[in-house]
Symmetry: C2
Subunit: 193 residues, 2 copies
């Protein structure tokens, strides 16, 4: 591959970076390693990303945007139950399909720092507040806030855990959904989305 | 304080270190800072602990030993229900009383690495295996293993979260217990220990 232009190559750049991050940790991955892995010069990678933080942000951005979209969609549902069901199914779906990324968020302080910056953005409604509002309502009791916290953190930690990396998507999705629904006191089974 | 001898001063050393770790992170805390905070020489601290890892281990050890004792006690109970109830109550109690330490485990890679070394000790039955066995039985279904993983990780993440640092022990304990019992499908209320 001669250079790094076009959206396909950007996607390849992000995929390769995420894989290297997972294998070597964010700290242990240099722009040079990413360039070597893609067979391009370091300058070609540098053209897209100037700092490690920029590349971490770019790797995490699609999943965060997807999560934001899921929460926005959930808010359009009429009943509280339908809002919760939609948000939970979407959250679990993202965990299942983005296990490498979620695993990094669980274990890597660099990834955690960058993702939490988006998650707890100071301006307007941050993603973290939007999520708790959808799951626990606009002014939740402490009991509900803690339940939702246990659920969100627990599903992410379990879904991204290395010991479940070999489980197929459908199975992991079903078990995470069941655990989430039990914690939120929702009826056991529900058609997906 | 002239030196650092006796078990009282060791306890003071560990308390001070845990507080500094929480305020500045494990990486950001030096033996010199610990010495300054205690009003002793660096050599006096060095007499007790040669490396950062040794001091992290010492800070985490009492809670891990307590957890191990709780799990051992739980195993002596006759019914599965009683085993689960005892282990859950003890686990929650340790989270509530050791919030600073649990918060560090949640967020600090140095603390995570050292604690996980104990947790997943290669020889004999490690604490992690003992805990899953008490909660999910000796050869758990995947569904049960994942539920227990969600519960353990979720309770630790929520219990050590900075946003709940101001909640009194009794309230936090009740909400974490409720969330744990719901996830494990245990009846709602139970007398503590």
């Amino acid at each position: 591959m001669a250079g790094l232009s076009g959206s396909d190559t950007r996607a390849r750049l992000l995929d390769t970076t995420l894989r290297l991050f997972s294998e070597r940790g964010v700290e242990g991955t240099s722009l040079q390693m990413i360039a070597d892995e893609l067979g391009v010069t370091k300058a070609a990678v540098y053209y897209h990303f100037k700092t490690k933080d920029e590349i971490i942000e770019a790797v995490a951005a699609p999943a965060l945007q997807e999560l934001d979209a899921v929460i926005e969609q959930a808010r359009t549902k009429r009943s509280r139950g339908a809002q919760i069901d939609h948000a939970l199914a979407g959250f679990v779906e993202i965990i299942v399909r983005q296990r490498l990324l979620v695993g990094l968020w669980n274990s890597d302080p660099g990834m955690r720092r960058v993702v939490n910056r988006t998650f707890q953005a100071p301006q307007g409604e941050d993603l973290s507040t939007k999520m708790s509002t959808v799951f626990a309502g606009p002014s939740p009791s402490l009991a509900d806030a803690i339940s939702v916290h246990v659920m969100l953190a627990g599903l992410a930690m379990a879904g991204g855990a290395p010991e479940y990396a070999g489980i197929d998507d459908e199975t992991l999705r079903r078990h995470l959904l069941d655990a989430g629904r039990r914690l939120l006191g929702r009826p056991r089974r529900q058609t997906f989305l």
